[in-house]
Symmetry: C2
Subunit: 446 residues, 2 copies
C-alpha cells in the first residue's frame, strides 16, 4: 500500500511541496487539506485584482485545481480545516471530526494578519487582507466605499500596494503610520521618493500617529480615533503586520523559533518525527548571519515547499537560506531591500556602515530616465556587502536582483565597484547607481 | 616648473583621464588635443538626437567645456589634430606643424567606423556615424531623406539603434545583414524577439545578403547593388564595425595587441615610456579568460581613462578587466550580453555549455509583463557561469547587471539558482528568468 503525504494548506508552500513530492514519487498518496475554497492563487496579486488591474480573479490562479487533481493526481480537499495533529495516531483531525491519517505531514498553514489590540478592532467594516476569501469580501465592499474615505492603518509594502489600489477604486485613502516615515523598514532617504509620489494624489498621510479606538457610526460608517481625534470613515483596512499560523504545530509538539514560527532545518523538517513545515508558518536561516529568522515571503514559501517536497520523497535538497529580498511598487516608485540593515548587521556582530548614492537609471537626457537611490550596507573589516535598499525607477526590482546576487556571492564593495555593467542611453546609465554607491566607498566616485 | 600631461582625444577616455589626473595632481599642466570641435559628449546618445528623442544637441554634453577649462583648469584645444608623436623630443606634432611637448602622454584616440572595401563606398550620400561632426552632417540630411528610403548596412546594436531612429524621421529603412540573423553576435533565440518587433514596422530586412557596389544615381539618389540586384536609396548608412585609431601610437613604437588596438597593461601603460592609452583605441584584459581583447565600449573607455589618470599621477589603480557587457534597445525590445559566448568559452579551453529559458519579467497577469529570455553559458567541470545573453522587457539592462555581477563573482550556476530574488507582481515574477535558467541546469525548474 502506498505511503500518504498529508499537506495542511493549499498555497505556495503547500502546493509547491505537493507538486515536488509528486515529481519525486509518482505513487505517493498526496492529500492537501485547504481550509478555504481556494488553492494555488497568487496572494501577492490580490491587491491588483482589488484595484481592477487584473481581471478576472481566475487570472491569479497559478495552476488550476483540475491540473492538480487530475494531471498530478493530488487529492485537494477544499473547506477542510485541520484542528489537531494526532502525532501518536499519525492523523490530522478536521473541524468536522474526520481523521486523515498520514505517513508524512507537511504543515504549510501560512501566516495571518495581526489585529492590534485596541477597542472596537472587530467592528464590522474593519478589514484585513488575509486570503482570497477576505479579498472577495473586501472587493464586494469597494463599490459602496467608492467616492468615500478609507483609513489604511500601516504603510508597509503591502499597505502601500493596498493604498494604491483603493485609490484606483475612487476611494480617498487616509494613510496612518505609527512610525515617523512611510515604509518604516526602509531607510528614510530610500523611502522618501514614495512620500513625494503621494503628494497631490488621492492619499493623505499621518505619520507618528496611533489608532486608539474604533466604533461603529450611526450611518454605517466607522468612527476611528487617532491621537485623540475622531473621524468618520467608510472603511478601515489593517496592514499592521502578520504572525505565523503555528498553533496547530505547537500543539503537536513542534518546536517554535523566532516570532513563534515553526522551527525547521534546511530540509524543512520540524522537531517532530514525520512532520515537515514550509512557508510563512515556518522559520528560515538567514544567508548572511546563518541565524534562524522569520521573514514571510512568497518566494521563500515557494522554495521551501519545493525543498520539503524533495526531502519528503527522500531526495537531496537544502534550502539555501533567505536574504529577505523584497520588492514592490508604490504609486509608480519601485522599492526594495535585500540582506541586512545596518542595525541588523551591528546586532549580528558586523562592523557595519552604510552609504547612499543617487543616480539615474538611464541616461539623464533620455525620456523615462528616473532618479534612483541605492543604499549599501557593508562590513568595514571584511569589506563584504551585507545588505542593500533601493528606490526609484521601473527597474528597481532587477537592480535589487543584482544586489542580491552580490550579497549571495559574498562580494566585497570593492569587487562590486569593479563590475563591468552594460550601458546604453535608453536602458542604462553610463554608471549605474549601484556602481556609484560602491565606487563612493572605494573612492572611485564622488 | 610643473609637469605636463598631454591627452590626445577629448571623449570619454580622454576627458575622464583628464578629470582624474586633475584630482590626483592640482598642479599638473593638462592639455587635451581634440581633432574636432566637440568634447565630452555622450556618443552613445547620438542616435537618439538624430531620432529627435533628445533635443537640443547640447543635452548630450556630459560636462561643458567651460567646466573643464575654468573649474578644472584643463587646457582643451579644439581642432587640434595630432599627426605624429615624437618620442625622442617628447612632443605631439599637430597638423598645423605646432609641437606640444609632454612629460606624460595619454592616447585616447578612439575608434572609427570601417568602410567595407567595395566599389563606390566613398560615394556622397554614404554615411557613417563616427563622431559628433558626422552626426551633425547626418542630421542635416534627414529632412531631405524623410519620406524616402535608406539602406542600413549592418544590424549590430548600433545599427539597430540607428534603424529605429531613422524610422523616427519618417524614413523607410532597408536593413541589410550579411549574417543569417539580425544582431549576429547574439544567439538566434535571444535575437529573435527583435526580428519579431520589426514585423509591420517601417523596416524591411534582408539577411544573408551582401552589399556589392554603390554608385551615384542620376537624381541625387544612390544605387546600391545587393546580391546582384540594384535598388535606389536616398541614403546609405554603414554600421559595419569599427577599428581602433592606433596608427599614431603604432608609428610612435607602441606595441599593438588584438585587432591592432594599442596594447596596454592594467594601469594603462603602453610599451613606450611616458605613454599611456585608454578607451576604444586600446586593449583590455578579459575578466574571465585573462586574455587581452579589444571590445570598444564607452563604459570601458570611461573606466580606463580614470585608471590611466590615477596611474599618470602616481596613484594606485588597476583596470579590473572587461566582461564586454553591453545592452541596448531595439524597437522596444531590450537586448544585451555579458561575458563569453559558448564559442569563445570553448576557444578559451572551457568545457562550455549553454541553456536558455524564457519567463516573464513581471507576473504574467500584470500589465507590462513581458516575455524575457535568458541564456547562460557555463563551464561543465567547474559549474562556473561564464557568460549570459538576454532579451525582452524594459528591465533587460538591470537583469544583465545581475548576470555581470554573478560572472564577476565567479559564481556557479548552482549558486545563481539559489539567490533569494525579490518578487512582487507589478515589478518582478515569482521566479525571475535568471532563476529559471539557472534552476533548469540544477534540475530545480523545468
Amino acid at each position: 500500500m502506498s505511503q500518504r503525504l498529508v499537506i495542511i494548506g493549499g498555497n505556495p508552500a503547500g502546493m509547491s511541496g505537493a507538486a515536488e513530492a509528486r515529481r519525486g514519487d509518482p505513487d505517493l498518496d498526496i492529500v492537501v487539506l485547504e481550509r478555504t475554497q481556494h488553492v494555488s492563487y497568487a496572494s501577492c496579486g490580490m491587491p491588483y485584482w482589488l484595484g481592477g488591474v487584473v481581471e478576472p480573479r481566475e487570472r491569479l490562479l497559478a495552476i488550476d485545481l483540475d491540473t492538480f487533481r487530475e494531471k498530478r493526481n493530488i487529492d485537494v480537499r477544499l473547506g477542510a480545516e485541520a484542528t489537531e495533529i494526532d502525532t501518536d495516531g499519525r492523523a490530522v483531525v478536521l473541524s468536522d471530526g474526520q481523521r486523515v491519517t498520514y505517513d508524512r505531514l507537511l504543515i504549510a498553514t501560512g501566516a495571518r494578519p495581526v489585529r492590534p489590540p485596541i477597542p472596537g478592532i472587530e467592528t464590522s467594516g474593519v478589514f484585513v487582507l488575509r486570503d482570497m476569501d477576505s479579498a472577495i469580501t473586501l472587493k464586494e465592499q469597494l463599490p459602496r466605499v467608492s467616492g468615500g474615505r478609507a483609513l489604511m492603518v500601516g504603510s508597509g509594502p503591502i499597505g502601500m500596494e493596498m493604498c494604491e489600489n483603493l485609490c484606483r477604486n475612487g476611494i480617498e485613502v487616509h494613510l496612518l503610520e505609527v512610525a515617523d516615515q512611510l515604509l518604516p523598514t526602509l531607510s528614510p532617504n530610500v523611502a522618501a521618493p514614495v512620500a513625494e509620489a503621494l503628494v497631490g494624489g488621492c492619499t493623505s498621510t499621518r505619520l507618528g500617529s496611533t489608532l486608539e479606538s474604533i466604533e461603529p457610526g450611526d450611518d454605517g460608517g466607522i468612527l476611528a480615533t487617532i491621537d485623540g481625534r475622531t473621524d468618520r470613515y467608510d472603511m478601515v483596512l489593517l496592514g499592521t503586520g502578520v504572525k505565523p499560523n503555528s498553533e496547530l504545530a505547537a500543539a503537536a509538539g513542534c518546536a517554535l523559533g523566532p516570532r513563534n514560527a515553526i522551527a525547521i532545518d534546511a530540509t524543512g523538517r520540524t522537531s517532530v518525527e514525520h512532520i515537515w513545515a514550509a512557508g510563512d508558518c515556518a522559520t528560515a536561516h538567514h544567508r548572511v548571519t546563518g541565524e534562524a529568522v522569520w521573514i514571510p515571503l512568497a518566494t521563500t514559501a515557494n522554495t521551501q515547499g519545493r525543498v520539503a517536497g524533495r526531502s519528503i520523497t527522500g531526495r537531496p535538497g537544502r534550502f539555501p537560506g533567505v536574504l529577505g529580498s523584497w520588492v514592490s511598487s508604490a504609486f509608480g516608485v519601485g522599492i526594495g531591500a535585500t540582506g541586512l540593515t545596518v542595525e541588523a548587521a551591528l546586532d549580528a556582530g558586523f562592523d557595519a556602515e552604510a552609504i547612499e548614492r543617487t543616480g539615474r537609471n538611464r541616461s539623464g537626457y533620455m525620456p523615462g530616465s528616473e532618479s534612483t537611490i541605492v543604499r549599501l550596507v557593508w562590513d568595514r573589516s571584511s569589506r563584504r556587502l551585507l545588505g542593500a535598499e533601493t528606490s526609484g525607477g521601473d527597474d528597481v526590482a532587477t537592480r535589487l536582483h543584482a544586489l542580491a546576487v552580490a550579497i549571495s556571492a559574498r562580494m566585497t564593495v570593492d569587487e562590486l565597484a569593479e563590475v563591468d555593467f552594460g550601458y546604453a542611453p535608453p536602458v542604462a546609465a553610463l554608471r549605474d547607481p549601484i556602481e556609484l554607491a560602491a565606487a563612493a566607498v572605494t573612492g572611485d566616485a564622488p
